[in-house]
């Protein structure tokens, strides 16, 4: 029984060691600004079209679904409230994070995994570079910076999607929709709407790097690392989402 637990416990320990090293390196020299910018482009700009698309459709679907429920109470005019609250608190952060996890946690794991199995990570260490400093910290910083931005964009585009449905299908006025949407939001909503992507970003980057740097066994190992990274990051996103929501709802 103890032997069975040894592997997972060691893996968790390694993950936290990597996390600690990645955060420590934020303040340590050398800083790889170019790599941070490159990753911002790959993770942020690269994910923009898909997250905007997902945001728009989820906002529109939300408006359609909720309008039916609200119609029972004669409150269709409050569609903007429901759309903005669900998007900012929940759908925006989670859907964006799941999309970015699918796209980038796996991308990071496969890139670092390929480097690991072709000895490029060893070469890096042999040639005077700390792989955590050069590869993990820039990805962590770039994701932590870009995911909240992507979420804000997804939230906004989602509301636009909701507005299109509200105006075109539910016969609400533009003013009605945006006023209720705007007034529904409190600081608490905005805070959790930004706190979530920040935490999710760390999970995506660190899980991707962790599985990538642990890859072994050739191309098959890289494939395994990629799948594990995507699955683990997605599961952690949902678990952490529940925990953060609980904290904000209680407060």
């Amino acid at each position: 029984m103890l032997d069975l637990l040894k592997g997972p416990v060691l893996a968790i320990q390694e993950f936290f060691v990597l996390t600690g090293a990645a955060f420590r390196n934020i303040l340590r020299k050398p800083h790889y600004g170019d790599d941070v910018a490159l990753q911002m482009d790959a993770i942020g700009v690269g994910s923009l079209p898909i997250t905007a698309l997902i945001g728009a459709f989820s906002g529109a679907v939300m408006a359609l679904q909720m309008s039916r429920a609200l119609a029972n109470y004669g409150q269709v005019s409050r569609t903007g409230t429901i759309v903005s609250i669900t998007l900012v608190r929940e759908l925006g952060p989670v859907l964006t994070a799941v999309m970015v996890a699918g796209r980038n946690a796996s991308g990071i794991a496969s890139e670092l995994g390929s480097m690991k199995v072709t000895e490029q990570i060893d070469a890096m260490r042999a040639l005077g570079t700390d792989p955590v400093q050069k590869l993990v910290t820039p990805r962590l910083l770039a994701t932590a910076f870009m995911l909240p931005l992507l979420t804000i964009i997804a939230d906004f585009v989602g509301m636009v999607g909701g507005w299109l449905i509200a105006v075109g299908y539910l016969n609400l006025t533009t003013r009605q929709f945006w006023t209720t949407a705007w007034q529904a939001l409190e600081w608490n909503d905005v805070a959790q709407g930004l706190m979530k992507p920040l935490v999710f970003a760390m999970v995506i980057a660190l899980i991707g790097c962790f599985y990538g740097l642990r890859a072994s066994g050739g191309t098959q190992g890289v494939g395994r690392a990629t799948t594990h990274a995507m699955v683990a990051a997605t599961i952690l996103i949902f678990i952490l989402d529940l925990m953060i929501t609980k904290v904000f709802v209680s407060s």
Partner: protein, 270 residues
């Protein structure tokens, strides 16, 4: 000739290492002195690569001690190890060139990233060009590793290993997976580097003919080619079997060995 009176460049003391319960190195001890060449023979999985990685401090032994340039690698932190690694060149088995960088950036990498180097930018370009000329890859500066053939990648990786002029160079199966002509070219470069820069050379290989070439040829810088010249005692052969060092000595002793595992390697002589 090795000079045992001076301290060794590289020293293994009873080094034992295992991965997931499988022994990779078992009680390995040897000393390599300045100017010495060592050819380490062994089949796949005999611990050759692990031995070289341990010499660089990339993996830590379970027990035993490793010294490079008088510093005990097993006691150093990763940061302190960078200073020692700056004095060791390494050719990895699959070349391990960085895919995302051009050949020029790859070769310049150690000059720009090793803290002890502090090479000014114009000097970097000159030294990179020099190293690439050395391996006869002068026209590939802007190319990416994926655009080169296996042999050319191996040559570029040699350029990266020698660009800092390290006093100790480790070669991990430099001819693995190459055709005989390219393999000979790579071996010629290794001998050329050894004789031109007087570096201490450790080469692991499963091909006896590589060790044979290393032991019996030297580079004539005036004529610019390899010449048959057996220099007694400067090349030591080591044979690894399942992590154990089962032979250490010169070529004559190796060829005279009755051990069936050793004679399987020696019979490959061409």
């Amino acid at each position: 000739m090795p000079t045992p009176s001076t301290s060794p460049v590289l020293q293994f003391e009873d080094v034992t290492m295992s991965f997931d319960g499988v022994a990779a190195l078992s009680n390995v001890s040897f000393q390599a002195y300045a100017g010495e060449s060592r050819a380490i023979l062994g089949a796949a999985g005999s611990g050759k690569t692990v031995l070289l990685k341990a010499a660089l401090g990339l993996v830590k032994p379970d027990s035993g001690r490793i010294f490079a340039f008088g510093r005990e690698l097993t006691m150093l932190s990763e940061k302190e190890l960078f200073d020692v690694r700056a004095r060791i060149g390494m050719l990895f088995q699959e070349s391990a060139l960085f895919d995302s960088l051009t050949i020029e950036e790859n070769v310049a990498y150690p000059l720009l990233n090793q803290k002890t180097m502090k090479v000014p930018k114009p000097e970097v370009r000159r030294r990179v060009a020099e190293a690439l000329d050395f391996v006869e890859l002068g026209g590939t500066l802007e190319k990416f590793p994926a655009e080169l053939s296996g042999g050319m990648r191996r040559r570029a990786a040699i350029a990266r290993a020698v660009v800092t002029a390290p006093p100790l160079i480790l070669y991990d199966s430099p001819t693995a997976g190459l055709d005989p002509i390219t393999a000979h070219t790579i071996m010629a470069l290794i001998v050329k580097e050894r004789d031109a820069a007087k570096t201490t050379t450790l080469m692991v290989t499963y091909r006896y003919q590589d060790g044979n070439l290393m032991a019996n040829f030297r580079y004539n810088s005036e004529r610019g080619r390899l010449e048959l010249a057996r220099h007694e005692g400067s090349t030591t052969f080591m044979v690894l079997r399942e992590g154990r060092l089962i032979f250490e000595g010169d070529q004559d002793r190796l060829e005279a060995s009755n051990d069936p595992y050793i004679s399987r390697f020696v019979k490959q002589r061409t």
